[in-house]
Amino acid sequence: MMAIPERSLSTIYRDLRRIRRVEEKIIEVYSSDKVKSPVHLSIGQESVAVGVCAALEPQDIAFGTYRGHALYLAKGGDMRRMIAELYGKVDGCARGKAGSMHLVDMSVNMMGTSAIVATSLPLAVGYAFALKARKEKAIVVCFFGEGAMDEGVAYESLNFAALRKLPVLFVCENNQYAIYSHVRDRMPHGDPCARARSFNIPTERIERGDTLAIRDASAKAAAAIRAGEGPQFIECMTYRWRDHVGPDEDRKWKYRPDEELDAWIRNDEVARVGAMLDDATRQRIDAEVEAEVTDAFAFADASAFPGGEELDQYVFSA
């Protein structure tokens, strides 16, 4: 593992904590129906987005999915505009047109996310093609669930990225489930890395959600990509604590063993990384995060709904 300067550790903790707390707050408000749209929570999976983004430069480009709160925040997206978007307000990152599933913040190179599984892989590859054609230094990172590895377009995308040696880091967030379907019921052996390697793409699998291990693997992969070696693939084992969609716990659906969930909850990265900081630092960060979260929801509350005249805006770009 690389040496971690203290500052970076506290940044990492802050990001983990921000995501956790903002989603806990979403759970709290969800029953009020202020968020009139599906939310796919990242609670339990924060370390993937945070670990990977800790290895990126600001000019790097991120593509993600409908389960996008964690990535949006880890990449530097504006929390106020995220909550306003969930509330369907004009100050949302897409003026209410997008909702939780389609967050975007171009000012930090957070590309808009898609609710169709696996669609962002080829987009990421295309963006990487452009970067390489223009000889830019930035790289593209593409996050997707292991479910995306069921879709044919994922293989077409890996193939083209490898063929053209494009600067793209594939990040497979393997939480083992696609909705209520276990990966073993969808892949004859649950090994996305083996598949990526058969396309000549180097891979690394990080087993238990360790934020710093994810950061280090990402840093290594990013360095290779920046050196012109072409795409890399990392698989991050992780776990979703809540239901596939919505704010609830989902033990009642009995599609996964309680013990499996419990073990991952005990393996909480937010707590684990927090414990690496001294108490004072952690408490300061926690307090700052609370303030930020409270402010974001207040901001969203205060923002207006879009007027009817916005319905047909942006169908086309001028």
Partner: protein, 353 residues
């Protein structure tokens, strides 16, 4: 096969789909139901709940997220003589398997001069409400109507849901079976014994001589609400549910418009090159020279579907916009504003999805 609805037992739309499917699975061991999540604890809004317990995991099973190949698998199994029912949680996902549906399923009987047939049922659920946004709210029936070799059904009542399901399973051709999330809780009389709805027969749901309203899928519910609003101002609307879109029963529609001289077509998708264009065009072709008529169309606003509620409310036709448009067809631009009626199934819907 058809039987009159002599019972007065009521079922929800979802229950009716379940019952029709189950009865056919009992009758024919070649029928099986597969697709993402069809065997999970929520059972596709209840429409597939417990099929796996009853019929085993070979006849009701979850799949990888591979819409394209899974559609090919359905076609291949159908070529081998089985009768697959492939379920999609959102109709939007059919965009991933257009190639298999249009280039393969629709063409096989013809290309091979009847040497094979492709008896598949593709269930596609239209998403709506609770902020589905641009990628989870679309309906693509016009895509399938466009292509010879496919049948398209869009039942709006529990009775027709069951009868169309049974007919679709028994049909020797590919049938796109459109459902709408906002219909699942609707209740209606459904005979218990198996029966098949005849494809290509529209239903006149109400009688009226002032204006014909043809509505598709969930829009039938809104059109019926609109009819009540119109009653209040003395306008008698004849609401027609085509039930099946391919084949399309233009006889019934044209007869009605021949009488009323006015038609409003309300689609559950965009109007451009949609079912509403086709219905209007065919009406012109049939009635020209014999009967002039006035027409209007309603459908999705010509934008992607926005997520935020205030804009989403403007995106869809409503009982009010239907009533208002029908009113204007009859009376010309007027100053009537229909009372607000609530679409319960929409207002009361809570996510999380």
């Amino acid at each position: 096969m058809s039987s009159a609805p002599k019972s007065d037992r009521s079922l929800t739309y979802a229950e009716a789909l379940y019952e029709g499917t189950r009865q056919e699975m009992e009758r024919d061991p070649g029928v099986f139901v597969f697709g993402l999540g069809v065997d999970d604890a929520r059972g596709m809004y209840g429409t597939t709940l417990d099929l796996q317990n009853v019929f085993g995991a070979d006849r009701n099973f979850d799949t990888p997220l591979s819409e394209d190949a899974m559609t090919g698998v359905a076609i291949g199994a159908a070529l081998a003589g089985m009768r697959p029912i492939h379920v999609h949680q959102r109709m939007d996902f059919l965009l991933l398997c257009m190639n298999q549906l249009v280039n393969m399923a629709a063409k096989s009987s013809y290309m091979f001069a009847g040497a094979v047939n492709v008896p598949i049922v593709v269930r596609a659920i239209i998403g709506r409400s609770w902020g589905q946004g641009a990628q989870h709210s679309q309906a693509f029936h016009s895509y399938f109507m466009h292509v010879p070799g496919l049948k398209v059904v869009a039942p709006s009542t529990p009775h027709d849901a069951k009868g169309c399901m049974i007919a679709a399973i028994r049909d020797n051709n590919p049938v796109i079976f459109m459902e709408h999330r906002m219909l699942y809780q609707n209740r209606g009389i459904v005979p218990e014994e198996p029966f098949a709805v005849t494809f290509g027969q529209a239903r006149r749901l109400t009688e009226g001589d002032d204006v014909t309203i043809v509505a598709v899928s969930h829009m039938v519910v809104e059109a019926l609400r609109a009819k009540h609003l119109l009653d209040e101002v003395g306008i008698k609307a004849e609401v027609i549910d085509p039930v099946t879109l391919a084949p399309l029963d233009m006889d019934t529609i044209a007869e009605s418009v021949g009488r009323t001289g006015r038609v409003l077509v309300v689609d559950n998708s965009w109007t451009m090159c949609g079912a509403s264009s086709e219905i209007v065009a065919q009406l012109v072709e049939r009635l020209q020279g014999s009967r002039s008529f006035r027409t209007a169309r309603l459908g999705y606003a010509p934008t992607p579907c926005p997520t935020t509620k205030p804009l989403e409310n403007l995106f869809y036709p409503t009982a009010m916009s239907i009533a208002q448009t029908a009113y204007e067809l009859v009376k010309g631009k007027g100053d009537w504003t229909p009372a607000a009626v609530e679409a319960k199934e929409i207002a009361e819907f809570r996510g999380p999805f």
